[in-house]
């Protein structure tokens, strides 16, 4: 039985298990599973998946209902957290919430579980308003997630509130299953004038294959500020399909930073929709991969109203036989005059066998806009290497320094100092050097 059949035949059992009488949710799930049944997993025949094939991943015999008796000690997983500052933590082990490792709150802001938000009456209005409202219901993998959505992070920052510390969302896989598929579902609501900083990470603790199909919906209301950081530094048997949908209202600022340093196949579908004037959207990423790793960034920014900006900056460093994809779509609708949309994608190929497919797409229907995109693919500058070596910096360190400098624009915009430090250290370890990069 292939994975699609397995998922379809598990659906009824799943619905019985979730013990949920809400008919709206039931209908939503039924619609979603139908859509997935019709469309199935995406293949390379689809334009949006031209450069990424899931075939090798789908061959695994994934279990789709994890056992729920996995326990971990904090000491064993501490290194994956930002342990040098205080944070709220939402920790999931094999898709199941771990209250022991988590640190939730309902004090002024809600940082808690999707499962309680989906089932408790007091959240019904919020769920009715926001759940699955901006996720693309036509998209097969998003539908698949919706059909099985039961757990994940629920973050609600009411109007005029500022989350007093960053929130870490951590999905850990223990390898208790030979192969595991998890489908986390996150909902983030940032009210008017509210602010939040979120860090999301997926981490396998051994080499049993994992497939994560994650959906995150983020709402940034008027003048809200939402910063979302994704750390993707998983083991080479972990696969991640991340579907993130962000809807912004006027005067809001939302940023997503994606650090792709590991995993087997990673696909980031990042969708921004601007629904008001003077909105700022920031999409940044650093990809540093090697061996046969594959990272595909698929971004879509939709400018609907006038006087908004979007700023995309993706840096990629590809070694060995790794492959990267950057597919960035910008739509500027007819009403969206004075749009300032900027997209940049710079890549360094360190090996003859590494590949990058870069495809910027601009669809502009307004006539008074500033849109630019730039894409570069190159090797390390040999003359810069010699210059640095002649000053006593060894080749490996010189290379690392150049690559770090290449990524610096993106690192520089990380607003949490401890996270910036952590990312810097991760980059140094990816580049195999031990030098302080505080440039």
């Amino acid at each position: 039985m292939d994975l699609k059949e397995k998922l379809l035949s598990s659906f009824m059992a799943f619905e019985e298990r979730v013990d949920n009488v809400d008919s709206d949710l039931h209908n939503m799930r039924t619609e979603s599973i139908k859509n997935f049944e019709n469309k199935g997993f995406p293949t390379k025949k689809e334009e949006a998946w031209k450069y990424t094939s899931l075939n090798s991943v789908l061959k695994n015999d994934f279990s789709v209902f994890p056992k729920s008796d996995s326990a971990l000690h904090y000491a064993d997983v501490k290194k994956y957290f930002l342990h040098d500052i205080d944070t709220y933590k939402l920790v999931f082990i094999d898709g199941v919430f771990s209250s022991y490792l988590s640190s939730t709150t309902h004090d002024g802001v809600d940082v808690c579980l999707m499962s309680s938000a989906l089932t408790k009456p007091k959240y019904k209005e919020i769920i009715d308003t926001y759940f699955n409202k901006i996720a693309n219901t036509e998209e097969s993998l998003t539908s698949l997630n919706t059909a099985f959505a039961v757990e994940g992070a629920f973050i609600n920052i009411p109007n005029n509130k500022v989350a007093d510390k960053p929130i870490e969302i951590m999905y850990l896989s223990t390898g208790n299953e030979a192969a595991l598929m998890v489908q986390p579902r996150n909902l983030v609501i940032v009210g008017r004038n509210a602010q939040v900083q979120i860090i999301e990470r997926h981490q396998s603790l051994n080499s049993n294959p994992v497939l994560t199909n994650s959906v995150t919906e983020i709402y940034a209301h008027e003048r809200a500020m939402a910063d979302y950081y994704k750390i993707q530094n998983d083991v080479p048997t972990a696969n991640l399909i991340d579907n993130t949908y962000i809807k912004q209202e006027k005067d809001s600022i939302a940023s997503v930073h994606t650090f792709s340093f590991g995993g087997n196949i990673t696909r980031n579908n990042l969708n921004f929709s601007q629904n008001g004037e003077h909105i700022e959207s920031i999409l940044k990423g650093i990809t540093i991969i090697t061996d046969k790793q594959h990272v595909d960034h698929y971004t879509q920014v939709r400018h609907i109203e006038p006087n908004c900006t979007s700023h995309q900056n993706y840096k990629g460093i590809y070694n060995e036989k790794s492959t990267g994809v950057f597919n960035g779509k910008i739509y500027v609708e007819k009403e969206a005059q004075k749009t300032d949309a900027f997209q940049q994608n710079n890549n360094i190929l360190l090996s003859d066998k590494a590949t990058i497919n870069a495809k910027p797409q601009l669809e502009i229907f307004a006539d008074d806009v500033k849109c630019s995109h730039g894409c570069t693919i190159g090797q390390l500058d040999e003359s810069a290497m010699f210059y640095m070596q002649s000053r006593g910096i060894p080749k490996k360190e010189a290379k690392a320094l150049l690559m770090y400098a290449f990524s610096d624009e993106v690192i520089d915009s990380i607003k949490i100092p401890q996270l910036k430090h952590r990312i810097t250290k991760l980059i140094a370890s990816k580049l195999g050097v031990n030098i302080g990069f505080n440039l």
Binding site: A384, Y387, S390, R391, G392, I393, A405, D408, L439
Partner: protein, 248 residues
């Protein structure tokens, strides 16, 4: 200090240096002059260890040790410094961090601990004053958007920081106005001692008014065709390189 014997070097199978002999002793300043295309910059790159240049024959030794097989950074650790004719722009790396990395890598190679931060700052302050460099300049990306004069001053600042045994100044005067030239030359002169040596590579005699050489060598067609004292530079300036070409 530096011994070069019968040095032959090629780039992409084209022989550029055709048997150079040179002996530089501690405390000396040697000027190497010559027309364009005579091999001056190739000589400096070969001494510094640039990989594109293949040394096909001969010997380069520093303090009696053959360095011709060493990587550029290893030569730097042994005390060779090359001031580039065209310093490379490195966006994203500040002057300060570049120098910190260079000094600490060099110390690491010698088995020393990293230089403490306060000592490093003191050194940077001291040496930047020597070159009349504004502190703000030090936090800028290396050479990015620097004027010609700033680039060359920055090269000599790096030399001051690294305190090499042998400094090679490749066309350091090109692109400098008279004030910048004076600052750069003063900097070099203050760094001179009985234990180190300088090779000044230049097309014109102008720089040699400020950094006075003990010996002048004329490079032509990959060979040193004439050597003499500082008066040779004046003679060249007066008669032009055609004089040398005519004799060879």
């Amino acid at each position: 200090m530096l011994t070069i014997k019968d040095l032959h070097a090629s780039v992409e199978d084209k022989e550029i240096l055709k048997g150079i002999n040179l002996e530089v002793k501690p405390g000396e300043v040697h000027a190497i002059m010559g027309p364009n295309g005579s091999g001056k910059s190739t000589l400096s790159s070969v001494i510094a260890g640039k990989e594109e240049y293949e040394m096909t024959d001969g010997l380069i030794a520093l303090e009696g040790e053959d360095i011709s097989e060493l990587a550029p950074e290893e030569r730097a650790h042994k005390g060779i410094f090359l001031s580039f004719q065209y310093p490379v722009e490195i966006p994203g790396v500040s002057v300060t961090n570049f120098m910190k990395t260079a000094i600490n890598e060099s110390r690491k190679a010698k088995g020393l601990e990293e230089m403490p931060a306060n000592e490093m700052l003191k050194l940077i302050r001291e040496k930047s004053e020597l070159l009349e460099i504004d502190r703000k300049f030090l936090s800028r990306s290396l050479n990015e958007g620097f004027s010609g004069g700033e680039k060359k001053r920055n090269e000599i600042f790096q030399m001051a920081m690294l305190e090499p045994k042998l400094a090679i100044l490749d066309e350091t005067d090109s692109g400098l106005d008279i004030d910048a030239l004076r600052i750069v030359a003063n900097g070099v002169n203050k760094l001179r001692s009985k234990d180190n040596a300088v090779i000044v590579i230049t097309h014109y005699q102008r720089l040699l008014d400020y950094i006075v050489p003990d010996f002048v060598h004329v490079l032509y067609n990959g060979k040193i065709v004439k050597s003499g004292g500082k008066e040779l530079a004046y003679e060249l300036e007066e008669k032009g390189y055609d004089w040398v070409k005519a004799q060879n």
